[in-house]
Structure formats: C-alpha cells, structure tokens
Symmetry: C2
Subunit: 409 residues, 2 copies
Amino acid sequence: MATITSVSPLAPAGFPDLPVIDGVAFASGEAGVKYAGRKDVCLITLAPGSSVAGTFTKSATRSANVLDCQRKLGGDSSAGAAFFINSGNSNAFTGRAGEGSVQAISAAISAATGLPEDRVFTSSTGVIGERLPHEKITAKIGDLVAGLDANGIEGAAQAIRTTDTFAKASARTLEVGGKSVKIAGIAKGSGMIAPDMATMLVYIFTDAKVSQPLLQQILSELTDVTFNCITVDSDTSTSDTLLLGATGTSGVEITESRGPFRDALEAVMLELAHLVVKDGEGATKFVEVQITGAVNDADAKTHGLAIANSPLVKTAVAGEDANWGRVVMAIGKSGAAADRDLLSIRFGDIIVAEKGWVAESYSEDAGAAYMKQDHLVIGVDLGLGDGKATVWTCDLTHGYISINADYRS
Amino acid sequence: MATITSVSPLAPAGFPDLPVIDGVAFASGEAGVKYAGRKDVCLITLAPGSSVAGTFTKSATRSANVLDCQRKLGGDSSAGAAFFINSGNSNAFTGRAGEGSVQAISAAISAATGLPEDRVFTSSTGVIGERLPHEKITAKIGDLVAGLDANGIEGAAQAIRTTDTFAKASARTLEVGGKSVKIAGIAKGSGMIAPDMATMLVYIFTDAKVSQPLLQQILSELTDVTFNCITVDSDTSTSDTLLLGATGTSGVEITESRGPFRDALEAVMLELAHLVVKDGEGATKFVEVQITGAVNDADAKTHGLAIANSPLVKTAVAGEDANWGRVVMAIGKSGAAADRDLLSIRFGDIIVAEKGWVAESYSEDAGAAYMKQDHLVIGVDLGLGDGKATVWTCDLTHGYISINADYRS
C-alpha cells in the first residue's frame, strides 16, 4: 500500500472544534479487516426518532452496501438508527456474497443495540472484488457498542480515513426561534484507498427535527450543488455514500426546505466537499471554475466539469501556466452550447479573453503571477443566457501519478 | 517550448516505404511562423478531377481553418485541389481575423497554382489565440510551388510534425480488376504542440477514382471505427482534421462503399490512428479495449471510452498493475447499461473476473506478468446483448505530466 508521508499543502491548520450533537454517539476500533494495528471500523448510533436521508454514487456497479442503504432509506424511524463504516475492503464486485456480508453486519449490530436491522446503514471502503471477512467485524461489534461516546466525533473522523492526508470535518450552529440548532459532519476522500480507487464517504448529523421526506429533499438538492460539483479525476467510486441523520433532540422542527437550516447545512456540505478536493491525490492547487452566461444551468455545469476534468487544463494549473487556450478547448469539447466569438475568460479578476479573442488589457506576466497562488478561480462567460454553475477541482501532478501508478498493491 | 529528446518506446522501427500516388505532389519549407530554423509549412497538390472528402473535430470552438474546409467540401473538383498545413500557430480563437488569414493563404495558393480558392484546404496547428502571421506564409508560397515533387511524401510527413517523436505514415496497394490501386497517408499527433494542445492532422491519398459523395460516405464511416475510437487524454483539439484525396489516376473506379478498397483504406486509417496513440504524450503502453456483449454498439463504445479515458485505469496500466477493480469502476460510471453480476473481464487471454466476481482460475501472478507487456488487451463482456466496439489508448505516466505541466510556454 502507498505510504502517504506528507499532509496536503491545501490542508487546513487543524481539526475544527465540533459541537456535540445530542443523541449521536461514536465508537471506533480495530478489526483487522485487511491490515493489523490500525483503526478500521466505526459505529455511530442515532437516538430514537432520528430521520435519515442519503445520497449515493450513481455507478451501475455500486456495492452491496450502497444498494442496501438505498433500500432502507425512508423506513420507520421510531427506533433510531446506526451507521457503520469499515475500511480495508469495499465489499464491491463480490457477487451475492456481498449482500450476505451486509446482512451479517446489520444483524450483529441489531443484536447488540436492539435496533431493527433495517435501521442499520453500512459503508465499506477499500479493495474491490475480495470477499469481505465480515466475521472479523461482527466479532468487534460488542466492543464498539460498549465504547459509544457522544464526544467521539473526532475519533470517528480519524477512523474513516484510509490514506487521506488529514481528517475532515465541518460544523455550523444556528439560532431558530431563540433555540440553538447544531450541524456537524465528517468526510473521507479522496486520498487513495489501496489498491483501488478513491471513495468518498460523508456523515452529517443535526439535532434539528426534520421529517424524512423533507430531509431527503433538502439533502438531494444540496448534493447537486456541493458534492456533485467537485471532481478530482473524473472517476467515480462504486461506494460513494453520504448519510445525514437528524435526531430532533434540539426540539426545533424544520418544516420548510428553504431557510437558515438549509443554508447552514449547505455551508457544512460545501466545506466538506472542498476539503475532499483539497486532499485530492497529489493536489497542490485548489481551483474554482465559475461558469456564467450559459444557455441554462445544466449546460453551465457541463462546461464547468469539462474544464475541471480536462487533463490538459489540470496539468497547466499544476505548471502555473495561464493557458487559456486549454480552457477554450475544454469548452469546445464539452458538448454543451458555446459560440467561439462570444466567449470571455478570466483568471481571478484578470480578464484574459473577450468575445473570442485575447483581451487587449491582458498581459502574460499578470496571468503568470496569478497562477502562482494556491487557490485559483477560472471564470468563463458564454454570453448566451443566464445559466450558471460553479465546480471545484484540483490540479493534476506527478503526485497523482506516483500515488496511482508507482505504488502498487 | 518543450524539447522532446527521446522517441516513443512504442514507435515503429522506421519510416515505411510508401508508393508514389500519381497526381499528388508535395513540398515543404520554412516560413518562420513561430520559430526560425525549422520546417513549418507544407503544400500538397492534387491533379484535376481529384475528389476530396474530410472529417473534422466536433469542437464547438473549432478553428477558422476547420470551418473553411467544411464549407469547401463537395465543390466542383474539375480543377484539382491543394492541401496546405502550417505549424507554430493554430489560428484558433482568433476572432474574425482567423477567417481573414485563411482567405489570404487560400488566395495566395490560388494565384500561384491557378486552382480556384475554393479548392484550397488549409490546416493550422500550434498556439491558440494569437493572430496567425499569414504574411510570412504567403511570402513562401512561390517557393513551395516551385518545390512540388511526387516523391515528397516523407518530407511532408516530417514537415507536419511538431513535437511528435516520430513521423507517421501508412500505405496499402490492392489489385482491382487486374489494375493496381494505391493508398498512402501521413499523420501528426499527439505529441504536444507547445504551448497548447495535441492536434491530430491526417492526409491520405489514393489514385482510385471515387465520386465525392461516395468518398465522403466511406471516410465518415471508417472515421467512426478508427480515429474516433482512439483517445490519449480525452481532450479534443479545436483543429483536428482528416482530408482524403482521390486522384482517379489509376483508372480504377470504385462504385461500392463495401469491398477491397474500403478494407485497404480502413487498414491505412487504423494504422495511422494506432501510430498517433503510440506517440501519445508520455506513452509507454499501447492498450486495446475490446467490449462485447453490450446492449448495442453505441453502448459498447461508451464503455470502451470510459475505460480508455479513466485516469485510474491509465495509471494502473502505467504501473503494470492488473487492477481490474478500476475497470469495473469505469464501466459503472460510463452511463451505459451494465449489470454487475453479468460482467466478465480479461487481460489478454487471462480470464480475470466472471459473472461479477474474480475468476476461480485467476492468479495475481499471471495478471502481473501479463501487464509487463507493452501491447495490452483489456476485454470486457457485458453479458447483455450483441453490441461490440474496440477502442485504443495509451497509459498515463509521469511523462504526460512533464510534457504538459513541467514545461511551459
């Protein structure tokens, strides 16, 4: 397995202070799923009445765990819920055996906690195509249940790391009708999970009371403008999972999809999404691609992702090269509507090209100086309509090749 | 500009012997478009009566030259035709000035050769977004016309190189009704064209007599299964151009779209397409992705390109890692139909996975030994239908990053 020895240069200074979410408890431990001597299992329980929403990879080859979570969403929430995560083995592409492993883990957690099996949501991350040795996991469930701790969220954020170079978390507290509502979340990704692919796992908790259908609606809408707008290398894991649990323990009920709760949740999701990009394999630059003037928002997102996924754009960013020609190329190939002679491009506040040609005011020195920053904005206006989108990515460096080619399983 | 000092390890042993195509003449020279002291212009003339077909980039931001060639195709062929190519400047994203440059070059060639302007087809490759100094080019047209030579095809193949690490050519000769028909072609790509993107330019000549509509039909159909089935990095140039000229000088007329002429042309196009991949930036492995059992051919091509464009698959190949999990991932994300539990995957003749799980007969040692070869086959059977497609690509290496990020304009 690759040994990641240095923390991403884009990592924040440290792990943030996170509020305790009343009704949520965390435990982590070592089950030896693939390697000995490292934490590889994590259990999180949510109080009775907690509603659970989720969004998942759209992969046609998604794992047994993902399919199982999708099936369980929306069920009776009176008893509470549990989230379980293991690393070391993704339980993906394991045929029917994969479903058996999910069932065995769910049954063991049900037996140890009293929760119905249908309220146990599991995630697995790691090697593909090998049977998950779930008996190593079920043997540890008792220890995990005994170790559950309301203050354990930082430990959980550490436990779900695989080769992430730093633990990722975000939180917001808001006031609603004079009462405090808390939101806290943790994420892993996109450091390599030897020997396979980056998987993104995200778990967010709030003490707001939100009905499951409304919680799902808000989460799905926000996923489209946060986690579905980031890309490291255009590849999609078979295991990507985002679960959101709302305990209701604050006594504050949210009944509208718009408003301060949604805004605070969006801020948490966006910060976690950005942290995933900032830990992208080999990343040295964080890039925000802002598209405006597209025919519609969907076209804008298509253009944004074409730029963010272009190897030639990403290597230009790595090389601190203000290569706007590659941006033009990416727009041209995206398949969405564009008119060469209406395009404008800027790097930060520097206008590079206007109406299909290099701007008179543009100087290559100014462009080159801008590209030395580690947070960059590439702005494109299509000049066609009101469609807009923002996506985020990182550069493509020798570090990416080293992680994914030089080190082998 | 990047200095490419070593020839691709996948290059053929040498430049092939090419037959003279009666009615075609070649000249090349130095116009100093961007750099002094290197050949950067090439003129090719075709005899009166030559029909010309073409296929081009689908980019929405394609260059003035491409738009001009597309407009001119299908016109009166009685006078003959000329192809002109310059490197150093792509004349792309140069606003209305780009059209003026094409017109100026076409007019100069028309004046020097007597051909109508509408029979002059131009290509430009190189930097994007800078005005093409076409006056340097028009000043050299007289010299080029004076140097036209029926034996000049190897010189032309050399002249259209930019940072390709080797000159690319292919030829076939076939017998039709006791008469000989010749086909010969040259290509450039996908070595970097500093400071922008790889552009693929291809020029093919035959002495068969083929009506323009039939020539276009055959060329378009064959492009879909040759040049449109290769990918180096998923990025698309604004200038990609393939022109095919048929002089008719053999006296053999082709009237059917199927048959030996089409087969020979396909062989030339496929060989040129493979040579482009083998000169992919940083390439050390040539990979053929064979998809069978898809719902239809279009789905098969979607799966094939998803695998061939996946950075995680391409880095695994670079690392000689038989990482079939990444192949599963690419199939899952492609958007085309797949059933996890019906998938089979092989590397060469080695069955890796069957019906959604690792094959009992598979050994990691056998997989690892296979991956050391420099020509690899990744085979996937979807188990869903009769759809099939084959695509070709190369690996993703430190060389790609070095060419595109470390060296700068």
